[in-house]
Symmetry: C2
Subunit: 254 residues, 2 copies
């Protein structure tokens, strides 16, 4: 949803269809085979609704399932958040010492290491699995002493400054919710790369020539595979314009 929110801000004239696979999340702790299976089903659903571009707005799914999805839907613009985040990091870092905070699945895939190396030589990248950040963000616990102690638990090698890190990639779409706390703990010498913002920029480029006419009212449709109440509660925080109880459509992807 952080990615959808960034896309809404960057492309307000486009009509956005957001699918949250709430029935089977989180993806970050699951095997590549299972994540591919779930992500391909989700992509098929969205393609079936008639879309001109697909954003895989989950780092774990981007890291392991992007190829499978692209191969299945040739001709469709398919973007992933990992490529966007890697491009942002390759630009943002001066020292070349880059930390990535991500899920276990994303770190295990080494997708960030590969994507950053493709763009820039001489970087040193450390991907740190931060699974508790997902639970904190989902619960709306985004700052305060608990967030600080969990962040120190994972990221002290960056925070203590001894290692020369000057860039932290928020390599899970939940983590931008923790960005203010992480920025404060990391200090002014560390740039935070928000995959959500980076992906929105990438999408603006990818859609050039195929954009909705400026001034179109755009719109956002929310679809969830389960528990639309909880989903609506989280959406209300991220899309305040939709009111306190946004309408959520239920989709069955079994």
């Amino acid at each position: 949803m952080t990615v959808a929110a960034a896309i809404r801000r960057a492309l307000p004239a486009e009509r956005l269809l957001y699918l949250g696979d709430v029935a089977r999340q989180p993806y970050g702790t699951k095997s590549p085979q299972t994540v591919i299976r779930y992500a391909v089903k989700a992509a098929d659903f969205l393609v079936g609704r008639g879309i001109k571009a697909l954003v895989v707005a989950c780092n774990t799914a981007s890291a392991v399932a992007l190829e499978a999805i692209s191969a299945r839907h040739p001709g469709l613009t398919v973007l992933g958040v990992v490529e966007a985040g890697a491009a942002g990091a390759a630009r943002a870092s001066v020292s070349g010492r880059i930390f990535v905070a991500a899920t276990e699945g994303t770190c295990r895939s080494q997708a960030y290491e590969r994507a950053i190396a493709k763009r820039r030589d001489g970087t040193r990248i450390t991907c740190i699995p931060c699974p508790l950040f997902v639970a904190l963000a989902e619960e709306g616990l985004t700052d305060g002493p608990i967030v600080e102690s969990v962040a120190r638990h994972y990221l002290s090698p960056l925070f203590d400054g001894k290692d020369g890190g000057d860039c932290l990639v928020l390599g899970c779409t939940h983590f931008p919710l923790l960005a203010p706390a992480l920025a404060r703990l990391a200090g002014p010498g560390v740039k935070l790369v928000d995959c959500a913002e980076a992906t929105a920029s990438l999408l603006v480029d990818a859609l050039s020539g195929n954009r909705a006419p400026e001034g179109d009212s755009g719109g956002l449709t929310l679809v969830s595979t389960d528990a639309p109440d909880r989903f609506a509660r989280i959406a209300a925080r991220l899309f305040p314009a939709m009111g306190p109880a946004p309408l959520v459509e239920l989709a069955d992807l079994y």
Copy 2:
């Protein structure tokens, strides 16, 4: 797995078949409809393997899916952890002021309130959703400053002692892993009810007359719906007798 470990200790001669629905966990944040769907599929799989008793070793699934499972498999002994935990709490509390730490799904179902009230009059029960405990336990973070601050975040109404609570039900099968920390924070005036132990006792009673001959070697078979590596790592902590890399069978329940 905490329940399976307690059953192993209580009934070492029995052959135990453990299924972890890793591909779709956690259940605690999902809707009742989805939990029922997943739990019924898991039960069908286990029944298909030829079992004499079924323990629904998840509080959320026990709270919402026990009836559906029992109705589908008449004649089979089906036990849930909620009934066991409620019986334990009804016995353990003197003041009748009982706290239950559980998932969102279990609290929403009010299954503990109903199950305790059935056994004892005049109790006052507060069910507190503690979703971060699940993530902490899964990551093996079971004590220390992070666990303490998260526990205080949820359970200060019990810990501060003003409300007369004398009993805390660990109403999620992940929570026994945090029991030492929670017991210390709650102090000696609060009894902890461990659903895992309570369920094992209930099963001992339920199997009377249908027990494996004493001295049988028993055994434990582990089955997972995904990511057997991660599953095996967690199993190794709970079943040290299986060695550092226990064998895990993969089952496809889609």
